[in-house]
């Protein structure tokens, strides 16, 4: 799954010479938190975030007089003065998995997407990945989730899929939680049917254990 397919293409940008107050307004009006900074030919030179700008702002504990002079000073600060130059970027040919892992490792919320010449092609943010996740979960289609505990060994998924398919039920998605008890996994098929009782009964007949919905989880903090 390439970033190319899921990134936002219509990206608002600023130039290094843009004032930070103008950049802040642009972000607020468009409800975004990252602005790629580009020069001629869309060559990326940096990224400025709403947090960069907030750090440059006067503290709220200043007196009125101090504030006024601070604001005059701010009017002269340019994006190039506070931006992250040479930010971490990704290429359109990298994958969503790359972007997810990089966000986790680098604790960054968005990456500019640039081609080999350094031209800005788009941006991939948590927002794009959220949209993709909602999509893969199948949440836009009517359905119901069930939770099954299985031994962590080969062939379990086939049994589940076969049993459900035999009931004439289609799948919206299947999630696997791998942090279950020792040697176990939890499988969560999202089924495009309201008729889940027959599926549950069939799975029980086959010896599977269905999880109490109040005990479901996909992920949790590691046990200490």
């Amino acid at each position: 799954m390439f970033i190319d397919k899921s990134m936002t293409r219509d990206v608002l940008t600023v130039s290094p010479e843009t004032g930070i107050l103008a950049a802040q307004t642009l972000m607020a009006q468009n409800r975004i938190r990252h602005l790629p900074v580009v020069v001629e030919d869309d060559i990326l030179v940096g990224v400025v975030t709403d947090r960069d700008i907030r750090s440059a702002m006067p503290s709220s504990i200043l007196s009125e007089a101090e504030k006024a002079s601070e604001e005059r000073r701010l009017a002269f600060i340019k994006v190039k003065d506070i931006m992250t130059a040479n930010p971490v970027t990704v290429s359109p040919a990298q994958t969503l998995e790359d972007a997810l892992l990089m966000m986790q490792n680098l604790k960054v919320g968005a990456f500019p997407v640039v081609d080999p010449e350094g031209k800005l092609k788009g941006i991939i943010s948590m927002r794009d990945l959220t949209r993709a996740f909602v999509n893969v979960l199948g949440l836009q289609e009517p359905g119901a989730l069930i939770g099954i505990v299985v031994e962590n060994k080969q062939g379990q998924m086939k049994k589940i899929v076969d049993a459900i398919t035999e009931q004439g039920v289609s799948f919206g998605s299947i999630l696997v939680s791998r942090m279950w008890d020792e040697g176990k996994r939890a499988v969560f098929p999202y089924l495009l049917t309201t008729n889940i009782s027959k599926v549950k009964n069939r799975l029980r007949e086959l010896g599977f254990t269905l999880l109490d919905p109040m005990d479901w989880y996909l992920d949790q903090l590691p046990k200490r």
Binding site: E141, P142, L145, N195, P213
Partner: protein
Amino acid sequence: MRRTGLVYDERFKLHKTGPGHPEAPERLTVILRGLEAADLLPKLIPIPATAAEMRWVETVHSPEYIHRFEQACLLDLGELDSADNQICPQTYETALLAVGGILNAVDTLMEGKIDNAFCAVRPPGHHAERSEALGFCFFNNVAIAARYLQIRWKVGRVGIVDFDVHHGNGTQHIFEGDPNIFYYSIHEHPSFAYPGTGREFEKGSGSGLETTLNSTILPGQGDEEYRRKIMRDLVPAFDEFMPEVILLSAGFDAHVADDMSDIKLSTEGFSWIMKRLFRMAVQYADGRLISVLEGGYSLDVLPELIRNHVQILLDL
């Protein structure tokens, strides 16, 4: 005692869904047997079912969809839109008959000949979208009744209460922009149950913002949570909205004995809900209430639940 109408027709059983399907004709058989055994049938005013006129069905469904549904039945295609929605050659006429029966109940109510009514109809309706059959539903019975009240009877404010254990996605979507039809649903939390809509943050859109309201119940919960959320959410909302007529999407699948959900409402819990709704109808709508059967698949408990439901409508 109130004058309560009953919409029932043996032909509602002609919609056959095939072996093992929970939305089966036997549901109506046991319901009727239950009413009979409790000697309630002589107390009810029978309302005939006649095929609904197409112009009323078209207030909710697209002509293309209606045509597609009709063709699928004529050609005996077996299902419409997904395997949940099993059809037979008679399904289309049965669905029209169900809608027509409910509209007859609306007429009888608005003419002042009854105080309220229970409509023991099949197929159910609340999942049906404008152009899609879903979750055993083909025509959205309650939605068509609401539009009929608006257009034919010039009712300004219609309140719909849906206590089927599943969210009525169809009804919500049809009315989410309409400030004059309030849709309230209480159902199992959508992360655990079909169809996955009806989250508490869904509150309508445009001028219909705040006339959609959802209360969600977590798996394993029952009477107490229903009581708490109806008092917290529905009661103040209707106090403000003041519906002139209340329509119920009456599903009985939240019962502890019904394996279609993880919700554990008791028989008494259902009676409490129904009494509360009856009171609200008296308070705002001069008692005007039409209850329309949706889900409820346990043939063991349906007769008792419906019997209690009807007894409360009769105010015995």
